[in-house]
Each structure stands twice: as C-alpha cells, then as structure tokens.
C-alpha cells in the first residue's frame, strides 16, 4: 500500500514527528511504500540543518534524513510555511537575500500542491499533529 504522511509539528515540542517516523519505519519494514512525507505548519522545522540536540537523545531531523536516504523517500517542506518560519534552500535564500540555506539533507522545498497530489496518488493519507 502507498502511504502519504502529513506532519504538522516541529521536532521535540510535539510527538507528531516521532510518531510519523515510527509509523513510516514500520510501514517500510512491512513492505509498504511511503509516497511522500509532507511537512506543514511548524512541521517545516523538522528540516532544519542547524539542530544540535543532546547526543543522548534522538536527532529528529537526522532520523528523517537517514530514513529518506535509505529508502529514497520524498520529504517535502511546504514553501509558504517555510518562508514564514525561516527554512530555506539555496534558491529561496538567494531569492530573498538571505545569507545561506539551512535546509537539511534529503528534504526539498515545494508547494502545497505536493500535499494535494500526495492525497490523490497515495492509498491512505495520515496526519500527525497537535
């Protein structure tokens, strides 16, 4: 089965991203496909490159980057939500005259249409949020 996941909250403050990650892992381990993981609202903060959480706990952003790398996942950060909250890739940083990009590996920035498309293409869409 093809799953689409929507994550509405950022790392650490809410369990949303962790729950989604555990769900994604279990789905992949059981032979399912994750069509896309779409990060909206504060969820865009899961894609920050500059998080340095304590080493005795999980690194939420890194977990996603590694899972995406291992399974070729499509991690999409909503551009509108990212602009509000300051997550930028190279193009966005240039376009808005900001110093540098701060987006973590394996995440890409794109529009809300990617969420709708995920709803259309996937068999099931789950939302993790507050």
């Amino acid at each position: 089965m093809k799953f689409a996941l929507q994550i509405n909250e950022g790392p650490f403050t809410h369990q949303a991203s962790d729950s989604a990650y555990q769900f994604a892992k279990a789905a992949l381990e059981n032979g399912h496909e994750i069509f896309r993981v779409f990060f909206y609202h504060d969820g865009v903060n899961n894609g920050t490159m500059y998080g340095v959480p304590p080493v005795d706990d999980r690194n939420v952003q890194q977990q996603w980057s590694e899972l995406a790398d291992k399974h070729d996942l499509d991690l999409v950060i909503c551009v509108a939500a990212a602009q509000r909250r300051g997550i930028m890739d190279e193009d966005e940083a240039k376009r808005h005259g900001k110093g540098a990009s701060n987006i973590a590996p394996k995440f890409r920035i794109s529009g809300l249409g990617q969420l709708i498309e995920a709803g259309i293409q996937a068999d099931r869409l789950l939302v993790f949020g507050d």
Binding site: H32, R124, F128
Partner: protein
C-alpha cells in the same frame, strides 16, 4: 467505508476523543496514540462512553509503545481494547478505507 480514527490527545486535555466517539460508526476502529492512550485505561470517566461505542460496533485499539512510554501497564487497559504496536497501526490503516486523524 470503514474508517480508522486515530486520537492523539488525552480526553482529559481535549475534546477530540469525545467528538470522535460521536461520529465513529459501526465497523470503524478508534486507535489511541501518543497522549491519547490515557483514554484506554479502566475506571476513567470516559470508560462508559467507550463501552457504549463498543456496543455500537466500534472497535478500539491502543498503541503499546505509547502506553509503555507513559508507565501504563497493559493489564490496566479496558477489556475490549487491543494493544497494538506500530506494525499493528500500519495494519489497521491498510484494513480500513480511510484514516481520520483527530488532533
């Protein structure tokens, strides 16, 4: 179509479980996750509403990993609520036609 309802908030914090219970129909499953697992215990003030829903054909499950995290032993879960793991969560999502995530 049968729906998998997930509820991630405690019924003592938010009304999500209450609203969910008012629309979950026969054949659907309500899965309690994250802080929502508080609703799964015996002897709470929501236990009766849950029993009533079971009587109407709603099935219940609770995510074991979230119970464990909160120090809530499986033997304190209401009869009729199955304890599942993340693989079970995935399975429930495949078995139902859609997923309604109550936040």
């Amino acid at each position: 179509m049968s729906t998998l309802h997930t509820v991630n908030k405690s019924p003592f914090e938010r009304n999500s479980l209450t609203t969910c219970l008012s629309v979950a129909g026969n054949g659907s499953t309500i899965l309690l996750i994250e802080d929502g697992v508080a609703g799964a215990l015996q002897n709470t003030t929501v236990a009766q509403s849950i029993s009533d829903a079971m009587g109407s054909g709603v099935k219940f499950a609770v995510l074991g990993e979230d119970l464990n995290a909160r120090g809530l032993a499986k033997d304190r879960v209401m009869d009729g609520i199955s304890v599942v793991d993340y693989a079970g969560f995935v399975q429930l999502a495949t078995e139902h036609d859609n997923v309604q995530s109550w936040l």
